[in-house]
Amino acid sequence: MDQRNRIRLVSNSLYNAGLERAQRRDLTGAVQCLKKCLNLNKYHIDARNLLGLIYYEMGEVSEALVQWVISMNFQERDNRADYYLEQVQRKQDRLDQVSQNIKKYNQALFQAQNGSDDLAVLQLTRVVEANPRFVKAHLLLALLYISHEDYTKAGKSLYKVLKIDKNNPKASWYMSIVKTRTGKAEIERRKIKNAFSHRQMQDDDVIIPPSYKENTGWQSVLNIGAGLLLGAAVIFFLVMPASIKRLNNEHTQELLQYNEQINQKNEEIATLNDTIETYKSDTEEAEAQLDMLLNSNDSVLNQYAILVKMLQAYRSDNLTEAVSLYAGFDPSLFTDETVLSIANGIKQDIETNGYQTLEDLAYTMWSAGRMSEALNYYQTCLSIRPANPKVLFNMGMIYRSQGQTDQAIEMFTQIVTQYADSEQAEKAREQLAQLVPDNQQAAVPGQSILNQGQPAEEGQDSSAGTAETGAQTESEPAASAETESQPEEPESQPEEQETQE
């Protein structure tokens, strides 16, 4: 009995070891311990159930079912294996799927062992997709990948195996080969070497980063150059745009201020120009007024001067001089009432008593050949007594003698039309007949010879030659005029003329 107890103790101890390894996912080691446990005590239900569970975890479903069925044979009640069988064996669909998967694995193994590696790989790929925990399928697939030197895929399969069974010896062996082929083994070796090469740091130790490298001379130059370039780039891309923008803003503000100042100056210039123009116009107007006051016959000063001269002529009883001044005399320009009354008195006196003198003076001038002055005096006579055919005739004759045919014809026509009954009318017709020989209308009263149209102009042109002849002899106007018509002597009594009117 002691031996049996010892065997149970040892088997329990092996079960505990197996359980511990299973908890650490050392499934291969756990299987070994549990098998030894069951070899010592085949009735160890927990060990058998755990062995079946580990088989199931490793994808060996049939092996697991075997262990659970045996376990149930040894202990039908209160057995955890009953639950496991319930989950796997008694669900037909799941069991069929497991069965098909195992058959595929066996088929793939057969193909691999007979040289059909590619088919085996395809089959095993499907198997591990259906049951990712099938350790044997993963190992066979990894072996095939390694034989094809596809170490990456092999490593992936082995990684999955080692996640399920950490200390799987075959997986560890294959993985070491894969790591050697891919160079990862060397990296891990260095890491391990570094991990175990550490020592306690001293106060003088300096931690140098792995990326640190001693710079040589040209490397320093390159680094400095790169730093300068980087600094230049930073200045160019970060500092310069901000500076340029700031300067542009300042310049824009300055330009705006200058533009505003320019606009103000332009407005001032425009205002000053307007003022200058105003002053210029005022100056011109003032100059014109001054000129009119000083130089014009119509100026007030001139009128004052004429008035003074006329008064002086009256004092000296020189009516002729007074009459001669009357031609440019215009009392209406005087504003002072006293002066105006004096001027009007003088004017009235000359118009009453000085008319004949004025006409005589005109005749004298005409006789002296001073045609323009004679015309001026005759014009004054007309302004005093407008209905005066004799004066008109004389003016016509003066015009004719000066070659001013148009004015002469106008004068004669005016006599013929307006004063047809006067004694100068017949003479005027004769003059018109001479000046316009083809014009029969000249004798017709009431019609102006200037309104006769083209024939009159032709006659006028023909008379122009005569006028030109007269003009050529302007140096001797009186003689020339006398050859054509003697000047009408002024009447001795102006009253007779008024009666005729």
Binding site: N41, K42, V61, S62, V66, I70, S99, Y105, Q113, L143
Partner: protein
């Protein structure tokens, strides 16, 4: 690890893989399973000794 350990003889290695137990073979496997344990062996030894 030696260089010899880093090389795999594929033919030899693949022969080490055994077919997995199929579901249809479970019953036969149970029957054929050797369930002899240490107690059975001891009882057999004691039995032979008595004989």
């Amino acid at each position: 690890m030696s260089d010899e350990g880093l090389n795999i003889n594929f033919e030899e290695e693949i022969d080490h893989f055994k077919p997995s137990l199929e579901v249809e073979e479970i019953g036969e496997a149970i029957v054929k399973s050797d369930l002899t344990d240490m107690s059975d062996i001891m009882m057999e030894i004691l039995k032979r000794i008595k004989e």
